[in-house]
Structure formats: structure tokens, C-alpha cells
């Protein structure tokens, strides 16, 4: 059984939403925090519904609606998504009011909008979808778990179409807290410099990407998602390389068969060690591309990577903004990413 990527919807710090030339120019933002380029939400979501949606719910909903529009589907057989942080803005608002008002005169809106499954639930509510609906909230595996659930549903024939996606946001509060944990570069001019500065930390990102997956082919499919694999807390670089090699072997794919390897390089010296390693060993003869200078670092960034891989395969070439001299006829892409050296994932995407 194959998993076909029939349509996508992507709200990110780049101009990725809606029909457009793939990454024609790179949006450059100063500092260590990338913000999404957001559409006019009223074009996608009814005004009456929109009032009950915080920013991340709007982002997720609009990305999902755009995906469904492209797929020409009104009601998918399932909706599954991943979010590591959930609805941070509303969580923060409710906490703030709880503290400042000493638990008095609190109102429900921020609370009900703070639950992690709200995005998936709002999508279902908007399109009146009574089918399977699930939300995964496991850090750097949130999106991968949602994809796995989707692929299993398709394999079970419990669904023919699955709307699968992810959403994560940065708020002022979360940026402040994660900065204190040392996640982000203290000094960086802008995202274009991400890989040239060899220092600790990366840049903060956010976004929401959705995919319409199916076990039936269709004329305008982007690509197939051939395989997905995750591994958790590997002991060392050797184990990581072994996992990647074993993954390729299981798929009967050699490094030479891969046209582009998209890596989750994020500019952090420690985190990038493994990427530096594999491009000299396993993938020494492969063309590689990075994506986190486009969307920043966040637990569900692989949704952006999958969108990128699928879009590149659809065009069959890399956009100039991702490097000169694109290989001709790109048919197979491997995505390898890790989040904080804890959550590692591999995705193999091929032309149909």
C-alpha cells in the first residue's frame, strides 16, 4: 500500500501559503525569532467561528482548509495532527488572569481554547467532520506520530483520505522561557546567517502544515510518502548512523538512489555534529539541503520539511533559493531531522 500526498497547506515564516512559485525568494527576518507570514483568515474561516480562535487555531485551520481546497475534498475520513506546545497563547492568558485576578471573575474562552486538541476539533467543527479525530502531543515526535497514525489508518482501510498535519507557535512568553533554557542564539543578524555562525543555539520558528494523504492515487498527487521511522535518545553518532543505514536497507534504497537529503541542520554547533558527520560518510556523494533557515526550529518543523520535500518532487527540481545547479529530475528525497538530539526522524518521499 502506498501513501499518496495529494495536497498540502502550509503557513510558515516564508511565502508558502496558497498557490505560488516555490520559495521564489527567501523571507529574511532579523533576530532569533521567525514569525509566520499569515493570510487574511477571514477568506478561509467564517467570521462567526473566527472569534473563538486564537492565532494558532487560525493558523492550523487555515492551513487545513487550504489543503482540503487543493484536494477538492470537503470531508476527509480522518483528521490527525500533532502539536508539541498546544495552544500557548490561551494557556498563558488563562494563567495570567488566574494569577492576577486571584482566581476570581475568570471566563471560559481562554481555557477551552487552551486544550491541545482544540485545533483538530475546530477543523472538525468547521467542516462538520464526524470521523476519526486525534491529536498527538509528544515533543519532537508530535507530527511523526500523527503521520504514523494516518498511515496506519490508510493501511487498515479505515480511511481512504486522511488530513494529517501539525501546528506550533511561539509566543512572547514561550520565547522568553526557551531563551532562558539557552535554545536560541544570543547574537544573529537574521535567518540567512543561520549556518554560517558556528555558535550555540538556533533560531525560534513556528508554523502549521497539513497534508491530504490517501491510499488511492490521484492525478495531481505531489509524491508518495514511502516510509517513516523514528528513534529516541540514541546513545551516540554511531548508533544514529546505524539507524539511518538500517532504515535505507529496509526500504531497499541505497544512498545513490537519493537525489536530495534534506537535513534538520539548525546552526547549533552541538546539534549539527551528526549532520556534519553523515554528509561525509553515509551521504558523502549526495546533494543536501537545509530547511530550518526558512522556518526556524520548533518540535514539529518536520511538517515544513515534508511540505518542502513533496513540493520539490512535484516540481522535480530544487528552487534556486536552496542552492544553485539543482539536480535534474528529483525523484527521491530523504528527510533526516532530530530535535535536541532526543527525537530523531526519517522520512522517505518519492515521485509517484
Amino acid at each position: 500500500m502506498k501513501t499518496f500526498i495529494r495536497a498540502t497547506g502550509n503557513i510558515s515564516p516564508q511565502k508558502t501559503f496558497g498557490p505560488s512559485v516555490l520559495l521564489q525568494d527567501v523571507v529574511v527576518q532579523n533576530g532569533n525569532r521567525l514569525r509566520c507570514t499569515e493570510p487574511d483568515y477571514l477568506k478561509f474561516i467564517d467570521a462567526k467561528a473566527i472569534r473563538r480562535m486564537s492565532r494558532i487555531i487560525k493558523m492550523g485551520t487555515a492551513a487545513a482548509m487550504e489543503c482540503l481546497r487543493e484536494a477538492a475534498i470537503q470531508n476527509p475520513d480522518a483528521i490527525v495532527m500533532g502539536t508539541a506546545y498546544g495552544c500557548l497563547e490561551d494557556t498563558g492568558i488563562f494563567l495570567k488572569k488566574m494569577v492576577e485576578q486571584k482566581e476570581e471573575m475568570l471566563t471560559p474562552t481562554a481555557f477551552i481554547q487552551s486544550t491541545h486538541n482544540t485545533i483538530g476539533a475546530q477543523i472538525a467543527l468547521l467542516i462538520q467532520c464526524h470521523n476519526y479525530n486525534n491529536t498527538f502531543v509528544h515533543r519532537g515526535f508530535s507530527f511523526e506520530s500523527a503521520l504514523l497514525d494516518a498511515m496506519m489508518l490508510l493501511e487498515e482501510n479505515a480511511a481512504t483520505t486522511v488530513l494529517a498535519g501539525a501546528a506550533d507557535e511561539i509566543t512572547d512568553a514561550s520565547h522568553a522561557i526557551l531563551s532562558r533554557f539557552g535554545l536560541y542564539k544570543k547574537e544573529i543578524a537574521n535567518n540567512a546567517d543561520l549556518y554560517s555562525i558556528q555558535t550555540k543555539g538556533t533560531i525560534a520558528g513556528e508554523g502549521s502544515a497539513f497534508f491530504l494523504l490517501s491510499n488511492q492515487p490521484a492525478e495531481k498527487d505531489y509524491a508518495t510518502l514511502d516510509a517513516l521511522y523514528t528513534f529516541y535518545r540514541p546513545a551516540d553518532t554511531k548508533q544514529i548512523e546505524q539507524q539511518i543505514a538500517n532504515f535505507l536497507e529496509r526500504q531497499s534504497v541505497a544512498a545513490a538512489d537519493i537525489d536530495v537529503v534534506i537535513t534538520g541542520r539548525n546552526g547549533d554547533t552541538k546539534g549539527d555534529i551528526i549532520y556534519n558527520e553523515i554528509i561525509t560518510t553515509l551521504f558523502k556523494n549526495n546533494r543536501t539541503a537545509n530547511y530550518k533557515h526558512l522556518c526556524g526550529e520548533y518540535p514539529t518543523s518536520t511538517a515544513f520539511a515534508l511540505w518542502l520535500a513533496a513540493s520539490v518532487i512535484k516540481e522535480s527540481k530544487l528552487p534556486a533559493t536552496l542552492g544553485a545547479n539543482s539536480p535534474q529530475k528529483i525523484k527521491k528525497i530523504l528527510i533526516y531531522n532530530h530535535y535536541e538530539n532526543i527525537h530523531h526522524s526519517l522520512m522517505l518521499v518519492s515521485a509517484c
Binding site: 462567526k48 473566527i50 472569534r51 473563538r52 471573575m105 471566563t107 471560559p108 477551552i112
Partner: protein, 85 residues
């Protein structure tokens, strides 16, 4: 009374995040719930707290809710009746 209703309309739009509506578009007697403005049970809870915070009024009886919140005018009437005397 008119000022109270004008204030209420502004507060309703702001509190309930009714982005697509201007306060002056809400009719004095327009039904707020189900039909008319189409508010729901969560909005009702927000309005109850609004009454408390802005006007220091607690609904005596939860069952009075639908009557009190039927329209901006009924809300204003209730506020005045609680403040009078």
C-alpha cells in the same frame, strides 16, 4: 439608558471578540442568543462575568439568564433595576 446600551454594545463586541461586527450594528432589541447575533452558552458565561466585573452585578438566579440576556435593552434594564433604590 442610551449611554448604558451603547457602552454595553461596545463591551459585548470587545469581550466576545466579535470582529466582524461594529457595536453600533447591534440593535437595541436584537436577540443576542441562538438567532440574531447567534451567541452560545460560552458567550453567556462571558456575559455573566462581564456584568460582575463592569457593573458589580451578580445574577440572582441562574434561571433568569435567558431573560436578562435576551437583548442589549433587557441587559440594560436589569442593570438599572439592580442599581436603583
Amino acid at each position: 439608558m442610551d449611554k448604558l446600551m451603547t457602552d454595553l454594545k461596545g463591551q459585548i463586541v470587545e469581550r466576545l471578540n466579535l470582529q466582524h461586527i461594529k457595536p453600533e450594528d447591534i440593535g437595541d432589541d436584537q436577540p443576542l442568543f441562538v438567532e440574531g447575533l447567534g451567541l452560545d452558552s460560552i458567550d453567556a458565561l462571558e456575559l455573566i462575568v462581564l456584568m460582575q466585573q463592569q457593573y458589580n452585578i451578580k445574577l440572582n438566579n441562574a434561571e433568569d439568564g435567558p431573560k436578562v440576556f435576551r437583548s442589549v435593552r433587557t441587559m440594560a434594564d436589569y442593570i438599572k433595576s439592580q442599581h436603583a433604590g
